[in-house]
């Protein structure tokens, strides 16, 4: 055994040691072999393990170590060279692997350690998030409570409900023992206990407002913890030995309507606060948490807003009730006023009628009396009676008119009427009076004044009559001239306060009445148009002027959007009355509907055709006279001609109707044509009517062909002529059926 230079001979005492070594090696080997198995098993079990390669390496290392130790078992006793070689190989491999592993571990272990660090980090993070979650949850909880509370509070507009709900909800949310609300009293010097949660009937306990604690609470808008011994917090029945819970107080601003300025947020400097005191349950060792305080503050604000809304609502409801009452009262007053007006109008109407009837009787009978045989004395008396009655009648009319004018209940009529005939009629009415006084009247109508106008004919006539009547009344001698023309825009500016607007459908009629009578003192002119004002400079105390006439005229003229004024150079120098009124221009298209004469076509009064200028052409003297007599009986102003030439010479636009006999030798048809040529304005020219005894259609057709306006058969009775004239004038055409 000399070649064996590797193994030391074993001592017999070392056998025990060797035995132990042997056993230990064995166990090591087993352990070494089992570890990788375990590793593999567990790694297989785990889903994620990033370092498999390391495991393999480690496994290999351990296996080889185990193998080494195992093989060591054989080296305790005498062993062959093979074993030695195997042993060596194993050792070499083990060495390699373990070095490799060691090297590897240098890289691996920091990684593994960092994993651990990361794990720790994540755990910390998770804990933090948990905390934050907890916070958020509490906040959200708070928010939810606030919302719910707000909803409860806002769902009602009743003050008491709001406050009660607040306390109840707060109490529930925060699990309070007691919650109380102190409101300032009317004097503002004390706080009165108004609402509590637990006690049903607050006793009306008051606390002076200028307590330092209260001031402290009022001066900050946060919830302030206060001492349970504070007078506002002393609400609970003292039970004895427990520790009172923490108390917190918060101010509740009481906003008024005046605090809400437009464009501004409500000022909080209202100085009017209520106090809300919240007490945690005693013995609970609970503390006020931040989020709870926040909740309380938010709620306090909401309550403030809700209260102010409730106040505003109350205010507006009260205002509305007041308005309704006022409305009812006004309605009643209006109805009473209407009744009063109606009664007055009825009274006026009745009185008017009642007064007019005897008036008419007096006037009519007096005038009839005048016609009979009277002595001079009697005549004088009758004249006086007549004059007074006329005056009274005028006065009655005036009063009725004026009262209606003042009412505003007078409305002008709008109808088409013959403007020229208005002037003529007034002239006819005034002529008798003027001629008695030996005054000369002349009327000048401008050529461009339309024959027809739209307006209130009656009132225009009344005005004109009044003005002309005044002129006649106050003139003792001389002449009265009436001019009527269309006012030109240049003349407007001379009149103060008159700004007419010319248009295509209207024109301004200007009428000037000049008289050479007594004249008026310029100082008295403004008074003329006022009611009942008498002019003192009139030498004659003329009772005929009650003073209403001009006032009424002025009203009418104003209603017609015009102006009336009087100029006079002084007493004795006469005066000029001028008025301008706005009249409509009638539409040319309905000229056929234009009334020619005043509209009492139904009545068979002969004054229907008063002053109607008519031309009669007939060469037979007898029938000419008869026709003339007939027409004169109806009140027309008749001119007779006996030949066509004479007819053409005499005819003018003043003649409204020409009665032409066509059954005589005169060629009436030719004449008609010539007349139509002479007067081309269809509106103004005379109507031509043929009178014939011929009953054949040829005549009628001939008449129609030359453009005659009518045909009537002779003989004509009075009634027939009357009917013919009215129909003719209304419709401008009349062809009698043959």
């Amino acid at each position: 055994m000399e070649s064996c230079n590797c193994v030391e001979p074993q001592l017999p005492t070392d056998e025990l040691l060797m035995k132990y070594q042997y056993i230990s090696d064995f166990f090591i080997a087993i352990a070494y072999f089992s570890i990788p198995l375990l590793l593999i098993y567990f790694v297989k079990k785990s889903a994620v393990f990033p370092y498999r390669w390391v495991l393999v390496q480690f496994g290999a290392f351990i296996v080889l170590c185990g193998a080494t130790h195992l093989i060591n078992l054989w080296t305790f006793t005498m062993h062959s060279r093979t074993v030695a070689i195997v042993m060596t190989t194993a050792k070499i491999l083990t060495a390699v692997v373990s070095c490799a592993t060691a090297l590897m571990l240098v890289h691996i272990i920091p990684d593994l350690l960092s994993v651990k660090t990361r794990e720790l980090f994540l755990k910390n993070k998770a804990a933090e998030l948990d905390r934050e979650m907890g916070l958020i949850r509490t906040q959200e909880e708070t928010g939810r409570h606030v919302r719910m509370l707000t909803h409860e509070i806002r769902s009602t507009l009743d003050r008491h409900t709001i406050l009660k709900t607040t306390l109840v909800e707060l109490g529930r949310t925060l699990a309070l023992e007691e919650c109380a609300l102190w409101m300032p009293t009317r004097t503002g010097l004390e706080l009165q206990l108004s609402y509590t949660l637990r006690q049903q009937n607050p006793v009306g306990y008051t606390v002076p407002i200028h307590h330092p604690v209260i001031n402290q609470v009022f001066s900050s808008n946060c919830a302030v913890p206060i001492s349970p011994n504070c007078p506002v917090a002393k609400l609970r029945p003292h039970g004895g030995k427990f520790m009172p819970g923490e108390v917190v107080a918060v101010r509740v601003p009481l906003l008024h309507l005046s605090n809400f300025q437009i464009y501004d947020w409500p000022e909080v400097s209202t100085r009017n606060y209520a106090l809300m005191v919240l007490m945690l349950p005693s013995d609970s060792a609970r503390q006020w948490h931040e989020h709870e305080l926040e909740l309380v503050e938010v709620v306090a604000d909401q309550v403030a807003v809700a209260l102010s809304h409730a106040a505003i609502l109350e205010e507006s409801m009260r205002a509305r009730d007041m308005l309704m009452e006022q409305n009812v009262a006004l309605d009643l007053a209006r109805r009473e006023a209407e009744t009063a007006i109606r009664t007055r109008n009825d009274f006026l109407a009745v009185m008017n009628h009642e007064m007019r009837t005897p008036m008419h009787a007096t006037i009519a009978l007096s005038s009839l009396l005048q016609e009979t045989e009277l002595t001079a004395e009697q005549r004088l008396m009758v004249e006086t009676i007549l004059k007074s009655s006329n005056l009274l009648a005028t006065l009655i009319n005036d009063v009725l008119d004026l009262s209606r004018l003042e009412d505003g209940s007078l409305q002008l009529e709008e109808a088409t009427f013959n403007l020229h005939s208005v002037f003529r009629e007034v002239l006819n009415l005034i002529k008798p009076v003027a001629s008695v006084k030996k005054l000369s009247l002349n009327l000048q109508i401008a050529a461009d004044l339309p024959a027809y106008a739209i307006g209130d004919e009656k009132r225009l006539m009344q005005t004109l009559l009044n003005v002309v009547g005044n002129a006649v009344k106050f003139s003792k001698e001389g002449s009265i001239s009436i001019t009527a023309f269309v006012a030109k825009p240049e003349s407007y500016s001379r009149i103060p306060d008159f700004h007419p607007v010319p248009s295509d459908s209207h024109f301004y009629l200007r009428v000037q009445v000049k008289d050479s009578g007594a004249g008026i003192n310029p100082q008295d002119i403004p008074k003329l148009f006022t009611k009942f004002a008498q002019s003192q400079t009139l030498a004659t105390r003329n009772p005929a002027g009650s003073g209403l006439g001009l006032a009424i005229c002025k009203r009418f003229v104003n209603l017609m959007e015009g102006e009336i004024w009087i100029e006079s150079e002084g007493a004795g120098k006469g005066c000029t009355a001028t008025f301008m009124v706005k009249l409509g221009i009638p539409d040319q298209s309905n000229e056929s509907k234009l009334p020619f004469a005043p509209k009492n076509t139904g009545s068979h009064v002969s004054t229907n055709f008063a002053g109607l200028k008519v031309l009669v052409m007939d060469d037979n003297g007898i029938s000419r006279s008869v026709t003339k007599g007939l027409l004169m009986h109806l009140g027309c102003a008749v001119t007779t001609v006996s030949s066509s030439e004479e007819c053409l010479r005499v005819v003018s636009l003043e003649h409204k109707v020409i009665f032409m006999d066509v059954c005589t030798g005169l060629d009436g048809y030719e004449l008609a044509v010539r007349i139509h040529e002479k007067f081309t304005n269809r509106l103004d020219r005379p109507l031509i009517v043929a009178l014939t005894g011929n009953t054949n259609k040829v005549t009628k057709e001939k008449c129609m062909r030359v453009g005659m306006n009518g045909l009537i058969l002779k003989p004509v009775s009075v009634e027939k002529m009357r009917g013919v004239l009215s129909e003719l004038l209304e419709r401008r055409v009349l062809f009698e059926t043959l």
Partner: protein, 151 residues
Amino acid sequence: MDVIQWQRQHRDHQASMFREGFLDDQFIQLQKLQDETSPDFVIEVITMFFADSENLINNMKQALEQTPVDFRQVDAHVHQYKGSSASVGAARVKNVCVTFRNFCDAQNLEGCARCLQQLQHEYSLLKSNLQHLFGLQQQIQAAGGSIPTIE
């Protein structure tokens, strides 16, 4: 004499004139035209008529005496007379005129001459009747009564 008697006479006479056809409705119309403004209208017109009649009748006579007879001329006169008589309500005269015109159209000289004679006769009758009537009227008016009018 008594106003009432005269009035009665007037009424009767007028009625008979109407009955006998001397006057027709047109005369009543004329009477209606008489009013305060023309109180003697009827008398004026009738007087004019008388003058005109005599004139026309003369013209007609002259026209018919001419040779050759200008029937158109005659017709013109008759036409005029017809118109006048119609205007005053002289019914019978008017009727004769109508017949006269027909004869003129037919250029019947004999017929015309006969008509002329008839015309003259009618005219004189009418004239005397009317003059009587007016006489009565004047008497009544002078006595202060009023003329009764026929409806």
